[in-house]
């Protein structure tokens, strides 16, 4: 479904992504892992168009999408959440998701019908599926961090994406919230048949739910394979446990 080939992106002298490859099949739950500063978020930003690649190819459903603006990529069926909470803080939870649903239904430019009567059912269904129904009327900025991260996912679902990209969906969450969110991701993949690409620091979780894992290190792809293959790979063990364990997080570009 999604192929990323030989992706390169530099910021000044710093090569954030330097030869990344990724393959996502329809219906798969794919994880990208790697130490801080490995280029995971940069890679996601390249896929969804927030950044333009210097070199390389991104093919989605057989069509080259590299360099397109984010809204065009979204319209082709890729939805995403952000690592750092990126919601509409002054709108209500309901309106946050509704904006995405209206965009999906191509109604964003409708000037004359009242928005409060549009896309209500779809929005409520999404809020229910992520467990935020009871907070629909709250102002999004007043939610707890954990709820805001869940709202992130809900907004992404508003576009009915075929491929859902989640950038550290559980960052900053309490252990309980993390478990609940991982359950949610599993459920989205299994029950709704969504293809999901995510990155995550909790290795236990990743090896537990992902069907395919891509390991990044210094902007490069070390390996992509089944969890068992990845676990036994020498290079991966080195990247995580060897020399680099002592390396500081300088060059962190994840934000």
């Amino acid at each position: 479904m999604l192929q990323v080939e030989a992706m390169h992106k530099s910021f000044g002298d710093f090569a954030a992504v330097y030869g990344a490859n990724l393959n996502v099949e329809r219906g798969e739950l794919v994880a990208v892992i790697g130490p801080n500063g490995a280029g995971k978020t940069t890679l996601f930003n390249l896929i969804t168009g927030q950044l333009r690649p210097d070199k390389g190819k991104i093919v989605f459903k057989g069509e080259e999408i590299s360099g397109l603006p984010p809204y065009e990529i979204c319209k082709r069926g890729i939805g995403r959440s952000f690592q750092i909470v990126n919601i509409f803080p002054r709108l209500t939870v309901f309106e946050n998701v509704q904006v995405a649903v209206l965009s999906q239904q191509r109604k964003s430019s409708n000037l004359f019908s009242p928005a409060q009567n549009l896309a209500v059912e779809e929005t409520n269904r999404i809020l229910e599926s992520v467990g935020l129904s009871h907070k629909a009327g709250s102002i999004a900025g007043s939610l707890s961090h954990g709820d805001q991260k869940v709202l992130e996912i809900a907004i992404a679902l508003g576009n009915e994406p075929e491929l859902l990209i989640l950038d550290e969906p559980t960052a900053g969450m309490s252990p309980e919230e993390t478990t609940a969110t991982m359950e949610l991701i599993k459920q989205l993949a299994e029950e709704q048949g969504l293809t999901i690409l995510f990155c995550e620091h909790d290795m236990e979780m990743v090896f537990d739910i992902a069907q395919s894992i891509m390991v990044m290190h210094h902007g490069q792809t070390l390996i992509q394979g089944k969890p068992e293959e990845v676990r036994e790979n020498k290079e991966v063990q080195e990247a995580y446990l060897g020399l680099d364990a002592a390396q500081p997080n300088g060059g962190e570009v994840d934000a």
């Binding site: 809204y71 904006v99 209206l102 965009s103 009242p114 928005a115 629909a136 102002i139």
Partner: protein, 329 residues
């Protein structure tokens, strides 16, 4: 409360009473007050149109009165230089304003925040300079005076009613737009343009449409100014007026629907009544602005809404909040 005026169920009766009150004055009040009220209406529409881009769109629309002036001049020129019926000019005004808005906006939306504002000031000032210097066509710094108007609008009462009618229609249209998916999306862009792009919204195009709509309504305000004053002059496009209407939005409450209207009324009243005693009325405006920043950062209307909301919450307690959230879901 950040989200606009009280919910629509309560808005319409309030608006109805307001309009009825406004229909009465010509029967009793002296002509001077009728004129001041009319001027308030014209300025209100101008401020409300600006607020679509500033309050709802979060754009630095720094030279909004350029479009007001273009609308007024177009209408005035159509009335004086052509023999077309008045309504043609009346429609041409806002269309010309919107076309200029489209041209200037096309460049502006490619820049962010302050650069957007700076570019708009420069391009708007360019239009002012053209109007100011082009004696043969625009009358230069003299402007155009004694513009003919149809006999039906010759009495000040009729002018008053005509302006009120147009204002009410425009407000209804603006309200519909603000509450539409377009308006909801515009507010989402104001809060977080990056996220909007990621949910499939073409942010620049959306902002440009908002500018065109806002400049269209500014053009209508320009039309009304001509109807009221029967003259146009380059000051209509001068940047200090843009600053003044910006202040109206801030003063009234730029996160509320009706706030700018209130701000416009306050400023017009100040200019008229304080201006009678001193030519330094802007000094008083400055003091008010400083007090505003410290004590009423949400503007007068924002403050009133907060008071009324907390009062009604004290009365009906939690049930109100629950009902509100249910009503939304």
């Amino acid at each position: 409360m950040v989200k606009g005026l009280i919910d629509s169920k309560r808005l319409w009766p309030v608006l109805g009473i307001f309009v009825i009150l406004l229909i009465l004055p010509p029967l009793h009040a002296p002509r001077f007050y009728i004129y001041i009220l009319s001027l308030m209406f014209v300025t209100s529409l101008l401020a409300m149109s600006l607020n679509l881009t500033v309050g709802y769109g979060g754009m630095f629309q720094f030279h909004h009165c350029a479009f007001y002036g273009v609308g007024a001049y177009t209408f005035a020129l159509m009335l004086t230089k052509t023999s077309l019926p008045m309504w043609v000019g009346f429609i041409a005004g806002p269309i010309a304003a919107a076309v200029v808005g489209l041209l200037i906006g096309w460049f502006c939306v490619r820049l962010t925040q302050l650069y957007f504002g700076m570019l708009q000031i420069s391009l708007g000032s360019l239009i002012w300079a053209i109007v100011f210097r082009w004696y043969n066509f625009t009358g230069g710094d003299d402007g155009i005076h004694g513009i003919p108007r149809p006999s039906i609008l010759s009495s000040s009462n009729n002018t008053y009613y005509f302006i009120l009618l147009v204002l009410v229609i425009c407000l209804a249209a603006l309200y519909t737009i603000v509450k539409s998916p377009f308006g909801a999306t515009l507010q989402a862009i104001r809060d977080n343009p990056q996220r909007c792009e990621a949910v499939g919204i073409n942010v620049r195009r959306h902002q440009l449409i908002a500018i065109v709509i806002a400049t269209f309504f500014a053009g209508i305000a320009g039309d009304l100014f001509v109807v009221l004053e029967r003259s146009v002059f380059p000051d209509l496009l001068f940047w200090t007026l843009s600053l003044e209407i910006f202040i109206m939005c801030l003063l009234g409450g730029w996160f509320t629907f009706a706030g700018p209207m209130l701000g416009a009324a306050i400023i017009v009243a100040l200019r008229t009544f304080v201006g009678k005693y001193t030519e330094y009325w802007t000094l008083i405006l400055g003091v008010i602005l400083i007090l505003l920043i410290f004590f009423l950062p949400e503007g007068v209307m924002g403050y009133l809404l907060r008071i009324s909301k907390s009062a009604s919450q004290r009365i009906s307690g939690r049930s109100q909040v629950d009902a509100a959230s249910r009503g939304h879901a």
